[in-house]
């Protein structure tokens, strides 16, 4: 427990049978992490305000539906199940849905090798597409190579909103948002202009937080990024 948190009211709950005591206001995801229980997640990053949009981190708390642990606050006496066959099945289904629109090649996996969606797919043993391939064919979401330093692959974007929070909340550059609606929703720069023509200052925060191959470092001057 950090000093900042001391003095706050503590509440008790159980996560997968383990009793945990955390300051009031702690999310289930944070409490689990503190207890050494890793709940997988794509949209959340501890540096950001949670948004609960990828739903990978769902847990059972005895309600009608599952709760996204990244946004749900702990309550006294709560009994959280963070891992069960059912929950694994839902996480696998969500991963498979995202994967069905994913491009053949992820610029992140190919450079730094840390594509978080592909890592989840490996964890769940997903090797083939269950759903119609949304990345094939002419109606893809396209790429944007207009920025000199950041490569944008809209097809690899899973709308986790990390780049949006990085750009607007962390850096206060106020460039990235969502546009469109539903399945047509996507990230956009300013009034949906190419990144290189937008007010982007190329700070790099968005590509640093992106979990997929959507926003990656461009190889500048032909230098290839190699993982050693």
């Amino acid at each position: 427990m950090t000093e900042k948190q001391s003095g706050q009211k503590l509440i008790s709950l159980t996560i997968d049978g383990k009793t945990v005591r955390v300051p009031e206001g702690t999310t289930i995801w944070e409490a689990a992490r503190e207890a050494g229980i890793d709940i997988p997640v794509l949209c959340h990053s501890p540096r950001m305000e949670p948004v609960g949009v990828c739903r990978i981190c769902v847990v059972e708390i005895g309600e009608r539906v599952l709760a996204a642990s990244c946004v749900r606050k702990c309550e006294e006496g709560m009994q959280v199940q963070a891992d069960s066959d059912d929950i694994q099945q839902h996480r696998k289904m969500l991963t498979a849905l995202l994967l069905s629109d994913y491009p053949q090649q992820s610029a992140r996996e190919e450079s730094t090798g840390d594509d978080e969606l592909l890592a989840l797919a490996r964890d769940y043993g997903i090797t083939e597409l269950t759903f119609p391939d949304g990345a094939a064919g002419p109606e893809g979401r396209g790429t944007d190579g207009s920025s000199p330093v950041i490569a944008v692959d809209h097809q690899a974007c899973i709308l986790c909103d990390r780049c949006i929070r990085a750009c607007d909340d962390i850096q206060h550059n106020d460039v990235i948002g969502r546009t469109g609606k539903g399945y047509q929703a996507r990230i956009a720069f300013d009034l949906n202009t190419p990144m290189g023509e937008s007010s982007c200052v190329a700070c790099g925060e968005c590509m640093a937080v992106c979990p997929t191959g959507a926003l990656t470092n461009k190889s500048v001057a032909g230098l290839k990024i190699v993982v050693t």
Partner: protein
């Protein structure tokens, strides 16, 4: 409200919200461009490029597809193709399922054959008048003899004073009144929670954004009984301690907006609104916010986001609006019909209201009836009326056909077989029967209809109206539509039924809001209740899945 209102004014004046206009608005209001793009890209009312002179919208959803045929939208488009300055757009439910197939020409509702709609669009037939009824019908939920007596309940409560407040809440609780928008939350409890919630100021919001296919009951109340809804909002303000109310009205309700605005003016003139309501130490003002469009805005937290000038994406809950609603403050949100039931309950008592129901059911219910029925329309019936009784009242199924199925509570409610026609239209009874009262929209389906096609139409609606915020709904609804369309074209993929069931389960359990949670429910109900019909179109068995 301010930003979206400004953008709607731009749209109205220029026929579009251009990049140049948004750059200007960004400077004037200090709003980053990405936020303005987020709004323009999200709400269907905004266009980046000017609309043509004539803009025709044709409903593509279930009740209209049943009457006009699956190709109705395409047929209207081809009848008008090549005509200069006319654009035809397929639209989600316009809330006029009683005159299906429904369309609008420059926002004026029209209906009829392809040829008739073409003639309206080309100006050969003058557009019908779009004015509210001069002499509305007498409805059993209206306790007032005439307009001179309107707001009598509010007036007598205010003159009786503070001690009446708890009594109002208790009466509402005793009446058994539940939310009529879909969720059915007990109204008295909601008023109580909001009254006790800490935080100032508080708000009263009326959800007048019904948009689910088959649903148009609130439209009638807005046109014919707006004074009841307004009165209840003022009473609610007095009870919970709010001075401001907002009516969130769906964009497509033009003449209803006129009736509502007129009624608000009347209320103000009578003294029911203003800095001192009927001379009491209580101020209350009301404003109407016109939705920039989209079914999802009927989800109450999406509505709050819209009122805060954001993309209308549902919030993660808790917290609930009773504690943290508009601008994070305690907010009472009720549906049009729920509010409109309050004056009669308070003036005649909880027992009177209870006694209006059939059998053990309590109160009266407005229902929108559409589909295969002789006289579609809005009916006010005792809660607990059966599906078969209602059908009889609506003149039965056309052409003497037999009833095959019905959806009792709007497009999101499960389809049930005709054999269950004795089920009471009531919250509990319909839940026990495997469906729900939902949005108060009964869709009757005659023998010979392709239920898989109808259910797929509904899934398509949810795909079209998904906000896209969370993965299960955004991607799941789109993949389901893709797979259903391939199946309807005669090529169902292997194991489609078990896959749909598995997806449906994930969507129901992991989506943020009700839209995603029910997106596949209609098609799953057809798989469950009409297994032969489902297997014929979707292939295979139901996978031997547990019920």
């Amino acid at each position: 409200m301010e930003l979206l209102n400004k953008m709607m004014e731009l749209q109205e004046a220029d026929g579009s919200v251009s990049d140049a206009a948004l750059h200007k608005l960004s400077k004037e209001t200090g709003t980053p461009l990405y936020r303005l793009e987020g709004l323009r890209g999200f709400y269907p009312v905004f266009r980046a490029h000017p609309a043509p002179k004539t803009h025709v919208r044709v409903c593509r959803d279930i009740s209209c597809a049943m009457r006009g045929g699956n190709s109705f939208c395409r047929d209207v488009a081809s009848a008008l193709s090549g005509v200069a300055d006319v654009e035809v757009e397929e639209a989600s439910c316009l809330g006029r399922c009683d005159t299906a197939p429904a369309a609008t020409v420059n926002e004026i509702p029209v209906s009829g054959s392809v040829e008739e709609i073409r003639a309206y669009a080309q100006g050969e037939t003058p557009l019908p008048p779009d004015e509210p009824k001069a002499a509305p019908a007498k409805w059993p939920t209206d306790p007032y003899e005439d307009a001179a007596h309107h707001y009598g309940t509010l007036k007598s409560l205010l003159s009786a004073g503070e001690e009446k407040k708890q009594e109002v809440v208790e009466t509402l609780k005793a009446s058994g009144l539940r939310g009529m928008g879909g969720a059915g939350f007990p109204t008295g409890m909601k008023w109580d929670f909001t009254a006790k919630a800490r935080g100032e100021p508080k708000y009263v919001v009326c959800n007048a954004d019904e948009s689910e296919p088959g649903t148009f009951k609130d439209r009638l109340i807005l046109e014919e009984l707006p004074h009841l809804m307004i009165e209840a909002m003022v009473i609610a303000g007095w009870i919970i301690g709010a001075a401001e109310g907002v009516i969130y009205l769906r964009h497509e309700y033009g003449k209803e907006r006129k009736a509502l605005t007129h009624a608000i003016d009347q209320a103000r003139a009578t003294g029911a609104l203003g800095v001192s309501v009927f001379g009491a130490d209580f101020a209350f003002e009301l404003r109407v916010f016109i939705s920039p469009g989209g079914y999802i805005l009927g989800e109450e937290t999406a509505m709050l986001e819209a009122l805060e000038d954001k993309r209308g994406e549902p919030r993660n809950k808790p917290p609930f609006p009773t504690n943290a609603g508009l601008w994070g403050k305690p907010t009472l949100i009720n549906n049009v019909e729920t509010f409109a039931a309050v004056p009669v309950i308070l003036s005649r008592g909880a027992q009177w209201w209870e006694a209006q129901g059939a059998g053990d059911c309590k109160g009266l219910k407005f229902l929108a009836v559409s589909g295969d029925v002789e006289q579609p329309g809005v009916y006010c019936v005792p809660m607990g009326t059966t599906i078969n009784e209602l059908l009889e009242r609506c003149g039965g199924v056309p052409e003497g056909k037999a009833l095959a199925a019905f959806a009792p509570g709007g497009a999101s409610s499960n389809f049930l077989p005709a054999a269950k026609g004795d089920v009471a239209l009531d919250f509990q009874a319909l839940q026990d029967a495997g469906s729900m009262l939902g949005s108060g929209a009964v869709i009757y389906v005659a023998d010979g209809r392709d239920l898989v096609e109808l259910a797929s139409n509904v899934v398509r609606f949810f795909r079209n109206e998904s906000c896209g915020k969370c993965v299960p709904c955004r991607v799941g609804s789109a993949k389901a539509v893709d797979m259903l369309e391939t199946a309807l074209a005669g090529n169902p993929q292997q194991n489609l039924i078990p896959l749909l069931q598995e997806m449906g389960d994930t969507l129901a359990k992991t989506s943020i809001c009700g839209l995603g949670q029910v997106a596949l429910a209609p098609v799953l109900s057809v798989i469950e209740n009409f297994s032969e019909a489902a297997a014929a179109r979707l292939g295979g068995s139901n996978g031997g899945r547990k019920p």
